[in-house]
């Protein structure tokens, strides 16, 4: 028969880790429900099924410790005492955590955490019987075995075999007393195994040995010796015989059957004992009834529809890459065709070419959309973890918090999902621990004692929005401002000029707040700079909306996908750049003379608004005519607007983003590159970074206006030597 290859084994374990994670997630969810509806039999069953599957899967992969721990819980859940126990949800949470850390340990082949504390909890709830609840009788079958097992482990009284019992009966009717001897073997004893033989030898002359544990030949090392003796001697005499110094430390001799025939006629009818706990026949009937009940309701794991394929993300990325190449190919073809059409304008085949290309183009768009769809996963996968987390954090802080989630079915690129998990977790945690006030404080403010955190997700244009809002104390811009000034993050007079939203944006500044200051300031700030950094890296953004005393909302905006964007192409200093089209609010035409300088910033009066400008290229030289035409791309990032001064526009294009490594472009101002149909390389401008650079940069008088931002020395060097040379 075939061996199971290592590769297969590794693949299986990988799958296990993945599915186990889902099972744990379901376990957490069911436990949360159970916390709200304790002793709901259906939930208990569902939990048991999850644990059951986890047990089986772990066993298949050879992860015994996990399998055993799950087994213990599964068995306990079959007990009425445990399944109706008030703190079952607690145990389920603890189990999810313990299993989770065991999984992590298996995965990195590290040291396994002990499952003992969990085992203790399980045994505790198995033991304490609580008054009757709705648990079904079908559970009873399990109970007998577990309790029996427990008894065996506890090294209770020895179970003598039927034959030995027959011997007891026989000896007693033969006029002998039957004793049970329990001897503890001395810890100093050099050979515990030999102790057995020594004692037996000592007793040989005065008693008949009907049975002994451990049995002869057993290699089992034991601290204890159990003997069944028939003898005419007294208990004291036998005990004296057994006391062998430095071998036996303690002896107890118990008369279990006097020579006078007492009772115990049905010695061998031992099966009857077995049955006392089981209602003959009923157990199975009830069991099938239970199955019936369970059958109608699908309980665990948000049912993954059948026919779901688990595919390595890398494979999809490969397909996506190829689709990207095809799109480039399409552009090449189109360009070639345009040229061709110019050369031979009368060629009759042109119409057919045009049709064929339009058809190909349509299919290609469909293909692209389909592939993108494969990568899309509902944000629910991310949201699922929060109920448990909110519960835990709220509990830690002694707060009462409701989590309301909506829009879980909003799709998001899988790779984005993975990256925003951490920032989002951070924000949710913050909302519970700092956003929501204590119950007393809330009541004093006339709010319901129980705080509410809302987690919402929806599509907006080409973006996915994730909002975390709480109805807590809000963030006071004044406090933020004075804090920022005090910390030296911003000059006092400058602070006065900032709009409220600019001030709030300061909480994302690194070093704005540290853990100690949480309580003094309105409570945000720890690690918020990290949140922003991550979002920017994803070409997304984060902004805050707050009403002091009422609410705070963090809004994360993410691109639908990282891989393909619709972009606006433009030129700066003859070089080709692109920005995501959805970030461009409008395109304004102006002349150099329209550009004004305010506090060393260039601004443009655009209708009734003053638009701060960023000059991507060099500042106009002295010779430049004031009437020279310029284009201004009005970029909207969050609620901020910024104008980019560019040389000329070069049209719209669908771009397949190719990542650039740090060697190629040593700036964060460019987030990627793409290749056009004619082989030209276009660099994609990282707007959040530009906005950030603009707001951080405080030009000194001597420096003049901010300009050439894209063309710093390093950038220039790399741009000329770097990707511009690339030809497909």
């Amino acid at each position: 028969m075939t061996q199971f290859s290592d590769e297969r084994g590794a693949e299986m374990r990988e799958l296990f880790f993945e599915t186990a994670q889902e099972l744990l997630q379901s376990l957490n969810e069911e436990a949360l429900k159970l916390e709200k509806r304790p002793a709901d039999a259906e939930l208990v069953r569902s939990i048991r099924r999850i644990v059951h599957t986890l047990k089986g899967d772990a066993a298949a992969c050879g992860f015994r410790e996990l399998s055993n721990a799950a087994h213990e819980l599964e068995d306990a859940l079959a007990l009425e005492a445990a399944s109706s126990h008030g703190s079952l949800a607690e145990v389920a949470f603890a189990a999810a955590d313990t299993f989770g850390s065991m999984l992590a340990a298996y995965r990195r082949k590290g040291k396994l955490p002990s499952a003992a504390p969990l085992g203790k909890m399980i045994r505790e709830i198995s033991r304490e019987p609580k008054t009757k609840t709705g648990t079904k009788a079908g559970m009873k079958t399990g109970s007998t075995k577990v309790s029996k097992k427990a008894a065996a482990v506890a090294a209770g009284p020895v179970a003598w075999t039927e034959y030995e019992k027959l011997a007891i009966q026989n000896a007693s009717s033969g006029g002998k007393n039957v004793y049970q001897v329990t001897a503890s073997i001395d810890r100093q004893c050099v050979m515990p195994i030999a102790a057995r033989q020594l004692v037996l030898n000592a007793l040989k002359t005065s008693a008949e040995i009907l049975g002994a544990r451990p049995e002869a030949g057993s290699a089992e090392s034991t601290k204890r010796l159990d003997l069944l003796l028939a003898s005419e001697k007294s208990a004291e005499q036998l005990a004296a015989k057994c006391r062998i110094p430095s071998v036996i430390s303690e002896v107890s001799v118990e008369l279990i059957r006097a020579a006078a025939p007492k009772t115990r006629k049905t010695v061998v009818a031992e099966p009857a004992e077995d049955k006392a706990t089981v209602q003959p026949g009923h157990a199975n009937a009830a069991e099938s009834g239970e199955e019936h009940g369970g059958a109608t309701k699908a309980a665990h794991a948000p049912a993954l529809a059948e026919n779901i394929l688990r595919v390595d993300a890398e494979r999809i990325d490969n397909v996506l890459n190829l689709v990207g190449e095809l799109i480039i190919g399409r552009s090449m073809l189109q360009q070639a065709f345009t040229e061709f059409a110019r050369h031979v304008p009368k060629e009759a085949l042109r119409g057919r070419f045009t049709d064929a290309m339009a058809f190909q183009s349509r299919v290609l768009s469909d293909l692209q959309r389909s592939v993108m769809k494969i990568r899309m996963v509902p944000v629910e996968q991310l949201f699922r973890r929060f109920p448990r987390m909110v519960r835990d954090v709220a509990k830690q802080c002694g707060k009462d918090v409701d989590l309301v989630m909506s829009g879980q079915d909003t799709d998001l690129d899988k790779s984005l999902l993975d990256v925003i998990a951490e920032p989002l977790t951070h924000l949710v945690r913050n909302a519970v621990s700092h956003g929501i006030e204590s119950a007393e404080e809330r009541v004093r403010a006339g709010k319901p004692a129980r705080g509410t955190i809302r987690l919402t997700s929806y599509h907006h244009g080409n973006q996915v929005i994730v909002e975390i809002s709480d109805d807590g104390r809000g963030i006071d811009a004044q406090v933020v401002k004075s804090k920022a000034v005090e910390k030296g993050l911003i000059a006092a007079e400058e602070a006065e000029r900032l709009s409220e939203s600019d001030i709030l944006a300061l909480v994302f500044t690194p070093g704005f707040s540290t853990a100690e200051e949480i309580t003094e300031v309105s409570g945000r700030g720890v690690g918020l700079d990290v949140v922003q950094t991550v979002l920017h890296r994803l070409k997304g953004s984060v902004d805050i909306e707050t009403r002091v005393g009422h609410s705070t909302t963090f809004r994360l905006k993410l691109p639908l996908t990282l891989a393909i964007i619709k972009a606006l192409l433009f030129r700066v200093e003859q070089r080709l750049y692109a920005v995501p089209l959805n970030a461009v609010a409008e395109i304004a035409r102006a002349r150099e003379s329209d550009v004004h300088q305010v506090h060393n910033y260039e601004v443009l009066q655009l209708r009734d608004r003053v638009l701060p400008l960023v000059r991507l290229g060099r500042a106009p030289g002295a010779g430049t005519a004031a009437s020279a035409k310029i284009f201004v791309l009005v970029i909207s990032m969050g609620d901020r607007k910024l104008g980019l001064i560019v040389g000329s526009l070069d049209g719209e294009e669908e771009l397949v983003i190719k990542a650039l490594d740090d060697q190629t472009v040593a700036t964060d101002l460019v987030s990627g590159a793409s290749i056009l149909g004619d082989g030209r390389v276009v660099l994609i401008v990282n707007l959040p970074a530009i906005v950030e650079r603009h707001s951080k940069h405080r030009p000194q008088q001597a420096e003049g206006v901010v300009s050439g931002i894209l063309l710093s020395h390093a950038d220039r060097k790399n741009l000329t030597e770097g990707p511009a040379e690339v030809r497909p």
Binding site: H52, A59, A60, T141, V146, H282, A285, H292
Partner: protein, 369 residues
């Protein structure tokens, strides 16, 4: 030979991947599909027309037992239960067997290390299931006996010591036979049923509930009593021993014989040694050849040897091996086996009699429908 088409029904994504992988190691098996619960499973049966279904019993939505009932009612496909090693698991598994599941295997454990054994067992059972001609044993009604059993008379010596070796199809067959034996059955019975550890205790308990005779899982030192059957626990060997105060069962942990522990050969040989002509060896439905040689030893020692006939066997492997070697003195159908045993144990009779009239090739498979 065309491929054996198998449908895998399991709620664990891991198992839905693993079981097909195991089965694919055999080129004569084709996994035509997988399903995650009973509803999907039934749809896939209709759609894919598998020959054999492997079934997990613990599933959300429509569970395994309900699905099994549907399969038995509508499709009559052989079902192999993939069963978990737990108290609940054992009890549900046995319920499944009595509902007509063909056989069961324990959920694979420690696959990387134990792949060959796991694959051999599962593949063997699937092939046997594919070859079986539908479900042979009529599912037996679950009506439990409520009447109190008389406590065992420890003084009554059994007239005969009956040793039964049985494998695939055994749970149903034993239930069928034992349920026909009277409470005062004069012989004592020892059973080696190929079954993994952890299931035999529940199996014995179930039989005890539905049969007049007492049934218990054997423990070392259990006395061989008239009117009682001892089932060998999984993963141990069962032997017999004559002692001054009575005859006892002895369990041992010797290595596997014929790949089996318990092995019927071990029991039969021990029966022959200790009881000679007082022993009765019975070899019933099952894959492989375990017990065939042992039955020869029983015969050689002067004991009676009985093999189940082909028509009533779910898998005609073990009895055939014994019959082909000429080790079976009688070949009887399942429906007359209980009577045959009664006749063998009748205290005042030596051998053949009216009770065995149905024996040999006459048997239209017992309970076949």
């Amino acid at each position: 030979m065309s491929l054996v088409r198998v449908l895998v029904v399991d709620d664990s994504a891991l198992m839905r991947k693993l079981i097909p992988q195991i089965l694919q190691t055999d080129s004569s098996i084709e996994v035509v599909g997988t399903a995650m619960d009973g509803n999907f499973g039934l749809k896939k049966i209709a759609e894919l027309k598998p020959q054999v279904v492997t079934l997990d019993l613990e599933m959300p939505g429509m569970g395994g037992i309900d699905m099994l009932k549907e399969i038995m009612r509508r499709h009559r496909l052989p079902v192999i239960v993939v069963s978990s090693h737990s108290t609940q698991g054992a009890s549900v598994t046995l319920q499944a067997l009595s509902l007509g599941a063909f056989d069961f295997v324990a959920k694979p454990t420690d696959v990387s290390a134990r792949m060959p054994q796991i694959a051999e067992e599962l593949i063997g059972k699937i092939k046997a299931a594919a070859q079986s001609r539908g479900v042979r044993v009529r599912p037996i009604g679950e009506a439990p006996r409520t009447s109190q059993k008389a406590s065992l008379d420890t003084k009554r010596t059994p007239t005969k010591v009956i040793a039964i070796g049985v494998s695939t199809g055994g749970p149903q067959a034993l239930q069928y036979v034992f349920s026909q034996l009277p409470v005062d059955f004069p012989g004592t019975i020892l059973v080696v049923q190929h079954m993994p550890e952890g299931f035999t205790e529940m199996f014995a308990r179930r039989l005890d509930e539905i049969c007049a005779i007492r049934v218990k899982e054997a423990q070392s030192g259990d006395v061989l009593l008239a009117g009682r059957a001892l089932i060998c626990p999984g993963s141990r060997h069962l032997k017999v021993k004559r002692l001054p105060l009575g005859d006892v069962a002895v369990l041992s942990d010797e290595p596997r014989v014929n790949g089996h522990r318990p092995s019927a050969d071990v029991l039969f040989k021990s029966l022959a040694e200790e009881f000679g002509p007082k022993g009765v060896g019975v070899l019933m439905t099952g894959m492989g050849e375990d017990g065939a040689l042992g039955l020869g030893v029983v015969k050689g020692a002067g004991g009676m040897t009985i093999a189940q006939n082909e028509e009533s066997c779910v898998v005609y492997g073990m009895p055939k091996a014994a019959i082909d070697r000429g080790f079976a003195l009688r070949v009887v159908g399942l429906d007359v086996l209980a009577n045959t045993l009664l006749a063998q144990c009748a205290p005042d009779r030596r051998s053949t009699s009216a009770g065995e009239s149905g024996e040999s090739s006459k048997g239209a498979g017992a309970g076949r429908d």
